[in-house]
């Protein structure tokens, strides 16, 4: 790897099991401060479990996970969120019966500075102008693309240092896919590091700085996104016929 800045998030030699079945084999991933890193892989490669490990939803059997130099192992999900990691979960997972406004504000659950939260809500509406007319609507009634916007706004509301995203483009129309990628870039340029899990390799490699390719629980390829994009092995495995989500 080239001279990347010091890592913000680092997984080293993580081994994860579901019962008898091993999901991760000596998994090591780093996300540099201020970078976008993406984790590519097909179905059942262990991508989503990697997200769950970072968020403390699944405990690894061995290995270390550090964020900004401090270990996350043993912390609960809410504690990890308070350290500055926000998430955009797979399939968005909005609170369907709460309003859009309530959903976005739920993102600020860990904060206690009411006035600044109100300002941030306004900022979200400039970042996601479409949501302005939808604020009092039930979140469950929005379209998939709009829900993705809410999920991203919700994640940003905690003023995270890092956002982890699980397949942010899944199930979206091409128009929204472009919009989401653009927004990820914007968010990143504002100083938030991003770790995203994707099946759609060509799209992810366009915006990422570094990329990892996960195959049945092992990292088989890693490096700067630019080089991976031209790597024939990635081409063969993913870019040729990227699987439907």
């Amino acid at each position: 790897m080239t001279s990347a800045p010091e890592p913000l998030l680092a997984l080293s030699n993580v081994n994860t099991f579901y019962g008898q079945a091993q999901v991760h084999f000596d998994l090591s991933i780093t996300v540099a401060r201020g970078h976008i890193a993406c984790l590519l892989g097909g179905n059942a490669s262990g991508k989503s479990t990697t997200m769950k490990i970072i968020l403390g939803l699944v405990k690894p059997r061995s290995g270390e996970v550090t964020f900004d130099g401090a270990s996350l192992i043993g912390l609960s999900t809410p504690q990890i969120v308070r350290r500055g990691i926000a998430s955009v979960p797979e399939a968005r997972r909005l609170f369907a019966d709460m309003s859009v406004r309530e959903n976005i504000l739920m993102g600020a659950f860990v904060r206690n500075d009411r006035d600044a939260v109100a300002q941030d809500l306004d900022r979200m509406l400039t970042l996601f102008p479409k949501l302005g007319q939808r604020l009092s609507q039930r979140a469950g009634s929005l379209s998939g693309g709009e829900q993705q916007m809410v999920a991203m706004a919700r994640a940003l509301m905690s003023r995270p240092r890092m956002i982890v995203m699980d397949e942010p483009t899944m199930g979206l129309s091409p128009l929204y896919v472009d919009r989401v990628l653009e927004l990820i870039r914007t968010i990143n340029q504002e100083g938030v590091s991003v770790f995203m899990v994707e099946q759609n390799a060509s799209l992810a490699l366009e915006i990422a700085h570094e990329a990892y390719v996960l195959q049945t629980g092992r990292i088989v390829l890693s490096g700067p996104a630019r080089t991976l994009k031209d790597d024939p092995r990635v081409r063969d495995a993913y870019l040729g016929g990227s699987e439907a989500a």
Partner: protein
Amino acid sequence: MSSWLDYTINGLIVGNVYALVAVGLALIFGVSRLINFAQGSIYLVGAYIGWVAVVQLHTPLPLTIIVVAATAAVVGLILERFGLRPLQNSVRIAPLLATIGISFVLDQLVMLTFSPNPRALPSQLPDIRFQLGGGTIGPLDLLIAGVGITSALLLFVFLRYSKLGWAVRAASQDRDAAMQMGVDVNRVNQAVFGIAAALGGVSGMLVGMYYNQIDTAMSLQATLKGVVAEVVGGAGNVPGAVIGSLLLGLVESYGVAVFGTSYRNLFAFLLLVVVLVLRPNGLFASARQAPPEPLTGTFIAPSRPVRIPRWALAVAAAAFAILPLFPVSFYVLQTLINAWLLGMLALSLTLVAGTIGQVSLGHAALLAIGAYTSALLSLALSVPVGLAVIGGGLMSAALGTLLISPSFRLRGHYVSIATLAIGEIVSLVILNWESVTRGPIGISGIPPLSLFGYDLISPTSIYWFSLVVMVALALLQGRLLTSHLGRSFRAIRDDDIAARAYGLSLNRYKSLAFIFGGFAAGVSGGIAAHLYSYINHETFNTQQSILALTVVILGGLGNVVGAIVGSVALVGLPEVFRIAAEYRILIYGVVLLLLVRFRPQGLLGTI
């Protein structure tokens, strides 16, 4: 007959009381997808705390309410922290069973502390009634309405405007996503259990004052009514629970007006069954709601069952068979006869709950059907007792399956609710169908067991008879489980969607399981009727259903040998240690709790 307005007022007041219980259940279900069967016990505790405060400490009414709410809340917090939180990563059936165990323990503790005799709980309010339209209303009615409305408002404000309230709402919609927003789900659980317990406790106190009487039987009734109201309104739906409660109160009140007091509960449970069958998500759920919980795999604790060689089983059976040839006391034989009868019931339940995954909480109803059928056949139609017992088994198989069949499309905890309700309905029909069942008087003078014209009166002959019947049923069931049919049953338990995708008809296999299980339980009830010579609508009650469930879990769900071992253990050990009768139920509750916590797969392992 008083005016319809009176019945309406009474229905709404009673509905308010139910609402206090049901709202708590809805909050807990929302966050944990758990039906808290201990809710009625907290209501009971509330009533007795109220009694202590009013009668012994002479507290003024406002203080009484605060004391009851606070104490009940503390009980709720303890229950959550020590009863349920350790089970968070356990199999999904575990918390349900734990709340059942907790409810037994709490009820028995109250009974041991205050004695089972009813007590008066004066309301401390002046006994006057105001005219209102064509009806009357008293200060206590107003108090209940006031507490109901105030609680609803407080809850609304809490959920809408407080941070913790937002966390509760978010967690009940998507627990994992809420955690990823930084919500501490343990705190949310604490909050809902505390609130639910405070409301439930106050409700128990108000009911005690309303009828000026409290006793330990209140607990189960309250749980049942709360669950009915909550499910009618849509499980987990807080406003739905309020409306469901008022509706339930009105239905009951009008039902009583038309048919009489003994029909009150029958209407409640019929309402529940109708709603479960027609709109299992409740009256107010929109159609989009997904089924409450997909059942996949983890419902019962997976384990490798203990293998017992055939010769060992044969030796054990032979040893029990020749036992009466040795000089053993009548008392030992009597105890083992009880164990064999319970064993038949446990065989039935382990098949239904363990093998095919339908956790029945109303299994005693199958005993009752078998017992009444056999008793009436032999008494009214002079059918030989041996045939009458078989008739009882067949009737249980047929009627039991017919009654449960509308609930075949339900899953998980809903099956438990439906079976509980059907069990209550059977008991209430027996109580009210006087022309056939002789109602509350019961049936006496049931002829003793006989076979081919020979009366079986000596303990030894009864012992052998029940042992042979039980072993025969066990062999049959063991054969069944190793067959193709047994595999299909387990497939349905582990993943009903996958089973259906492979072409298994859920209705057919669930029917087969209940037919077989109904027969075994009905035979057990039939034999019991001829042994007791007297039965009534309370002979086979919910306590027996729960005892059978404890036996089955002790032995290992689905495990045939385990069912018998569990029966001998739970019937025999209290006798060996000479434990007084009033402590037994307490011990069964504690056994259930310990099993769920430390050995959910039971002694011999689930199959």
